[in-house]
């Protein structure tokens, strides 16, 4: 193929879309030059508001809001991307998911993944953020080093750990030297440990990120409260349990829920690290919801069923987010 990424795909529809956007920009310039100066300020503000948000509004509508509605629609259809017929089949897709053992397993695995990863990463990064409050020098350097895994792509991280967990890798070697039998020491090939081995990598790689979020929360606590407590002779533990912990609580809840959502959405690392070429092996023990959706849609080509599973996935995330909103609306008590 002689085409590169830059020249391919300039078909008529794309050119039509580009011309559309270009004409919006032209209209904006024309209005600005000839129409706007004649209007009163109040009308002008209205007009400019609409000019400025015209393209973003179209984008949000077409790329983010309509597809969401389309997802609901597909979930009630028998939809294969290759066939032109897509008849409505009521709740058949949902009934299929309800009866599917694999989908049930995917939901359970997703929650197992989250329940292992979240407490681990939250506790470690909270401790780390508190340690950062104590030190004065080399803060930036340490923070950068800690953020390294978070800034690396999950694909690269996944392969590094595929290596470390493998028969030739360092982690396997250490476990073997600790006297663990070989079959159990190959963490990602063992049905019982594979999911947690991946969750561990995910937790480890985001410690730096969550530490930063906690640091933002800790910095928001006014210095005077600490000074007052110190003058009163409060011990470190008292300061932590009576001041830091209660005041940090709202951001702790918020960050935990962010972490839960992020864990449920994790796709890349699981795809790279799960066995049988990233299809959730061994024996579906690392099959999580995003992976299930991906495989249903793009290897088994059941867009309808995949859409139905995304709706279920969305409802789960929605419930969690609503809980988050409810919790954060509680007043902060000083």
């Amino acid at each position: 193929m002689d085409e590169t990424i830059l020249t391919a795909a300039l078909n008529s529809k794309i050119i039509f879309i580009l011309v559309g956007f270009f004409s919006i920009i032209v209209i904006a310039f024309v209005t600005e030059r000839f129409i706007a100066p004649k209007l009163r300020l109040r009308h002008r503000e209205n007009l400019y508001g609409y000019i400025f948000i015209a393209i973003p509004a179209i984008y949000f509508l077409v790329v983010l809001i309509l597809p969401m509605i389309a997802s609901f629609q597909y979930s009630f259809q028998k939809y294969n991307i290759l066939s032109s017929e897509k008849p409505f089949n009521g709740f058949d897709n949902y009934r299929y998911l309800l009866n599917s053992e694999v989908f049930g397993k995917a939901i359970v695995n997703s929650f197992k993944f989250a329940l292992f990863r979240v407490p681990l990463v939250i506790s470690l990064s909270l401790i780390t953020a508190l340690m950062f409050q104590r030190i004065k020098r080399y803060k930036n350097l340490l923070r950068t080093l800690m953020l390294l895994p978070f800034m690396t792509s999950s694909v690269a991280l996944g392969w590094i750990f595929n290596y470390l967990y493998s028969r030739e890798g360092a982690i396997f070697e250490v476990l073997k030297n600790l006297g663990i039998p070989e079959t159990k020491a190959l963490l990602t090939l063992n049905v019982k440990t594979a999911l947690y081995a991946i969750a561990f990598v995910s937790a480890w790689s985001s410690i730096g990120y969550y530490t930063l979020l906690f640091t933002v929360g800790l910095d928001a606590i006014p210095e005077e409260i600490y000074d007052a407590a110190k003058v009163d002779g409060a011990s470190r533990w008292q300061i932590f349990s009576k001041i830091t912990w209660p005041l940090l609580n709202p951001s702790l809840v918020l960050i935990s829920i962010m972490a839960v959502t992020a864990s449920l959405k994790n796709f890349d690392l699981i795809r790279v690290m799960s066995g049988s070429n990233g299809t959730g092996g061994p024996m579906n023990s690392t099959l999580t919801m995003p992976l299930f959706i991906y495989m249903e849609a793009f290897t088994r080509l059941n867009m309808g069923r995949a859409a139905a599973s995304t709706v279920v996935f969305f409802l789960i995330i929605l419930v969690i987010t609503l809980v988050q909103l409810k919790v954060t609306q509680r007043d902060i008590q000083y």
């Binding site: 503000e45 007009l47 597809p67 389309a70 950068t144 080093l145 690269a156 290596y163 796709f267």
Partner: protein
């Protein structure tokens, strides 16, 4: 407190401070060692000849660049790198500009429906990307942009998070500044481009760095939309190369795979370390919502 007591308090406090600080340093340095080690191991392995993989030594005994020659001649890392650069550049430029435009309108113009529009944008944060990929793919298929540049960039061109961050930045700009420019007779577009954008470069850079990192590391959407090897982004290409290399020999040649991961991850890592300031600022901004 009398003088003596105060002195005691100070000394006790100081001593526990030193113990506390050294404990903190031990914890943090220990943690940093665990985050550096895999990368160190990756780079070190990439210089090891094949037979040395089994020895588990920290540094290669007989360092060689044979793996690099091997990987770079067999795989099109140049093309993949170029594709990633193109995709990331387009996404960052478009996204930062339109997020600023939208954020500015929402922050500074009072027009009918602006609140509703803002709420609508924010509500898209809740929608997981997994839910949208199926309609995206179906429509890309209909538009015949599967396996093309427009196909791979269109989902990332704007986001609620970017609009939110930029709106927050514009809210901090005093209205008097804009009014003064209006009195001078400047048009709204030129106010936005010549006056407003230059004073919000901090937030814009933070958003740009976060967007660039996200786009560069994106795996799921390119995986779905790109099908021919010469259109792959770096992440896809690396995955493709590693999967093929891993199954090529009886004992996996990890030094070749680690060479791939090094080539794919090191350039961006080095760049982000230099832009770390903006990255940290971006995360701090994201913690606000």
């Amino acid at each position: 407190m009398n003088k003596r007591k105060r002195l005691q308090f100070f000394v006790a406090n100081h001593r526990s401070d030193i113990i506390g600080q050294s404990f903190a340093y031990i914890w943090l340095i220990g943690l940093c060692l665990t985050t550096i080690f895999p990368f160190f191991w990756m780079v070190s392995t990439s210089f090891k000849p094949k037979f040395e993989i089994l020895f588990h030594r920290l540094l290669p005994q007989a360092p060689t660049i044979e793996n690099y020659i091997n990987v770079l001649t067999r795989w099109q890392y140049g093309t993949w790198f170029f594709n990633s650069v193109v995709v990331t550049t387009i996404t960052v430029v478009v996204s930062v500009f339109f997020c600023s435009l939208c954020g500015y309108a929402l922050a500074k113009f009072r027009f009918k429906g602006s609140k509703l529009f803002f709420i609508l944008i924010l509500s898209t944060i809740m929608v997981p990307g997994e839910m949208l990929i199926i309609p995206w793919y179906v429509n890309a298929f209909k538009l015949r942009i599967v396996n093309t540049l427009p196909g791979v960039v269109f989902p990332g061109l704007m986001g609620a998070f970017g609009v939110f961050v930029m709106r927050q930045a514009f809210l901090n700009i005093p209205n008097e500044l804009i009014d003064a420019a209006r009195v001078e007779g400047a048009s709204e577009l030129s106010i936005f481009i010549k006056i407003i954008l230059p004073i919000t470069t901090g937030s814009m850079s933070a958003l740009a760095v976060l967007t660039a990192l996200g786009t560069w590391n994106e795996y799921l959407w390119p995986l779905i939309i790109m099908s021919s090897v010469d259109r792959f982004t770096l992440q896809l290409g690396m995955m493709h190369a590693s999967v093929t290399d891993a199954t090529r020999e009886l004992i996996t040649n990890w030094s070749v795979i680690m060479t791939s991961t090094t080539i794919a991850s090191l350039p961006m890592l080095i760049m982000v370390i230099f832009l770390q300031k903006y990255f940290v600022k971006g995360i701090a901004l994201s913690g606000l919502n």
